[in-house]
Symmetry: C2
Subunit: 200 residues, 2 copies
């Protein structure tokens, strides 16, 4: 079986959100699975010297228009959240805690948090807000809320982010296909050709 | 007749170079022409707070790999030039001077300078280097060299850059299709669908 496509996203990233509308179908079309990885772009931005794209002069106006246009193309609802950027530590810790127990639930949780934040615009910073989403999914939000404060949960996220930085992940979405990195929702066409042809 | 696709590029930009391999075919496929516009990204970068992508930590390594992979896909030769970034004022002034006389020659000149810089890696900063390329194309390099120092040539470039900034052009390549902006070589697929469907 071929390696999974490693998919890196930040809950704060609109393009990461949009990628969740296509990544599973892309992988399935090529007999691949997806390995989901939450990332903290803020850590990478300290290295790259960047700030959130949406807040940059000139580039922010373009990106806001582009993400809306792309959302229409992807059939994805999108709004500008009440709080941006999102401090996504709690959601990311929750993601890895769930992934350690049940990867499928962790994926469903990603979709849920992204919907709450980018489709409904709700503030998803607080551990309580994250736990409430888990509850609404039928998971044990209380246990999740407690787990988020543990050293184990903190350590898992720290290690995941360190590994992503080591791998060169500075953006959202980024994809690793057999060691080849692709950055951005605009790469779906190119990734499809890459997967079909085994590179070029 | 539909409006031309406005294509903005900086001679210093590898992705601008790569775009020249596809923009004419894209336009022709949709019964459009291309309006070519040299831009000085350095002016925009003072506003956006960016430096050249290839020189940024993490992002530069990715972009160098990505531009090479994309060049293979586009069938475009590419090397890392001996001097980067390119101070592209002379080439850009020459471009607008030629465009004022003969737009088709100006387009051929863009291809020529991009080949010299991104396919052959030669230093294209000096007015003499730019004039030599014009000579090699059968144009009057001597007249071009003289024109580059005139207030008229300086003014034309300044106005073009000001208009591009006003329009929100901060990257290379950028494309304006009926008032809709698209940024990057990764947008060719999306632009093709946009042109076909008249937006969405």
């Amino acid at each position: 079986m071929a390696d999974p496509i490693r998919f890196y996203f930040d809950f704060s990233s609109p393009y990461g959100y949009l990628a969740t509308f296509r990544i599973e179908a892309l992988a399935a079309a090529h007999g691949r699975t997806v390995d989901w990885n939450a990332h903290l772009l803020g850590v990478a931005m300290k290295i790259t010297g960047q700030g959130p794209l949406l807040n940059q002069p000139m580039r922010g106006a373009y990106a806001t228009h582009d993400m809306t246009r792309m959302a229409r193309e992807f059939g994805a609802p999108i709004v500008m959240p009440e709080v941006f950027p999102l401090h996504s530590v709690a959601a990311s810790r929750a993601f890895y805690w769930l992934k350690g127990k049940n990867p499928e639930q962790a994926v469903a949780f990603v979709h849920r948090i992204y919907q709450a934040y980018w489709a409904q615009g709700r503030d998803m910073r607080a551990p309580e807000a994250v736990a409430a989403e888990a509850d609404a999914m039928g998971l044990d939000g209380g246990a999740l809320r407690e787990a988020l404060a543990t050293d184990d949960a903190k350590q898992r996220l720290r290690e995941a982010v360190d590994q992503a930085i080591e791998r060169g992940i500075f953006g959202s979405p980024m994809f690793d296909i057999d060691g080849e990195l692709f950055w951005g929702c605009d790469k779906f066409g190119q990734m499809d050709r890459w997967l079909k042809n085994g590179g070029w």
